[in-house]
Amino acid sequence: MAPEPPRDALFRRVATDFTGLISRIALSYEADPALRRDLIQDILLAIWMALPAYRGAASLKTFVASIAQKRAISHVTRRAREPRQVELPPDLASAGLLPDEIAVRNDLKRQVVEAIQLLPLPQREAVVLCFEGFSYQEMSEILGITPNAAMLRCQRAKANLRSIMERRS
């Protein structure tokens, strides 16, 4: 059997290892499930096109997040309005939890997602990257700011997120 071309192999890795990352970035910008699917598809297409330029200078995760964030911002500007607040699907549960625990977690997750979607875009980018476990150095590469600025932006975004969640509850 012929070996898989490098781009195909890398794309397969992206589609396997970063399913959650790409889906969650899309979720933070688009509440409508149908439009979110379009956004995910758009992100994957952009990643495929950009993969030949990936030289391994940054981690593949940083590369993927960077392209996903940019695509998501373009998506929001194209839609020319903030995401509609569409009810999230009920299957947000974690395995192995009791039904009432699942309900509480689902409710909490719904609140987190809604609060993230209400943040201004620059803070939304920062908080999502924080949640995804990126270091300030990696965040600075993705956002095009200094690591110190990334840290300050994260702090403001976290404070803002908390205050939105407090107000809404």
């Binding site: 195909d8 794309f11 992206v14 589609a15 399913t19 790409i22 889906s23 969650r24 699917r37 995910i40 598809q41 994957l44 297409l45 952009a46 495929w48 096109m49 950009a50 030949p52 330029a53 990936y54 940054a58 960077s66 392209i67 940019k70 911002i73 373009s74 929001v76 500007t77 194209r78 020319a80 309005r81 299957d91 974690s94 997750k109 609140q111 987190v112 997602v113 201004p120 875009l121 803070q123 924080c130 949640f131 995804e132 476990g133 993705i142 956002l143 095009g144 700011i145 200094t146 110190n148 600025a149 300050l152 932006r153 403001r156 976290k158 997120l161 908390r162 969640m165 407090e166 509850s169």
Partner: protein, 205 residues
């Protein structure tokens, strides 16, 4: 209610996807891969067709002038393809620099708005001029009585009325897309202001 601490929120945010969501994602990934490959094949195929057409023209008429023009055309096709490919790649991987990205999007949106405004402003006079031209051709260069004939043609069932309906539909479509571009422009400007404000806060001690 006080929200949970940040680590707990992060755990909630990154909790594992359901198998259904994962399957849906894999389906989207396969589709994106197929679509991207199809786009690339179409692009390469179009380039190859153009080059074959130029080479065929050269073999049918192998004059030095044909060779020069053909060679330049092939070089232009290859160069344009290479440039487009690299520009697209550079745009995609140019991490960060949101302001440059928004400036670029704003320039594009303004250009589209101007084109759409020009289209809106010109479509009705263009229609009238076309009708006037047709009237003058049909009347041996005479344009006297055009207005009465025009009103008569658009107020009775016939091609004139059909043309007017098409014009109104085109105007409605143009107006709709113009308003959408203006909304996009306003959103982009607001977004750039948000990024500038955030950058200002980033610099504060």
């Amino acid at each position: 209610m006080t929200p949970p601490d940040f680590d707990e929120l992060a755990r909630l945010w990154t909790q594992e996807q359901s198998p259904e969501e994962q399957r849906e994602f894999q389906r989207l990934a396969r589709r994106a891969g197929r679509r991207a490959k199809a786009l690339e094949y179409a692009e390469h195929g179009m380039g190859a067709l153009l080059i074959i057409a130029v080479l065929a023209a050269f073999f049918l008429n192998s004059e030095p002038a044909t060779l020069i023009v053909g060679g330049l055309t092939v070089a232009a096709i290859l160069w344009a393809g290479w440039r487009r490919h690299h520009r697209r790649e550079a745009q995609l991987i140019d991490a960060g620099n949101r302001e440059a990205m928004l400036d670029h999007a704003l320039r594009n949106a303004r250009a589209r708005r101007n084109r759409s405004a020009a289209g809106l402003a010109l479509i009705a006079p263009g229609f009238l001029l076309g009708a006037l031209f047709k009237y003058s051709v049909q009347n041996g260069g005479e344009i006297g009585g055009f207005l009465a004939a025009f009103v008569a043609s658009v107020t009775s069932v016939g091609w004139g009325l059909a043309g007017l309906i098409v014009l109104l539909l085109a105007m409605a479509w143009l107006l709709r897309s113009h308003l959408a571009i203006r909304r996009e422009l306003a959103r982009l400007e607001a977004l750039r202001a948000e990024y500038r404000e955030e950058a200002r806060l980033d610099r504060q001690p």
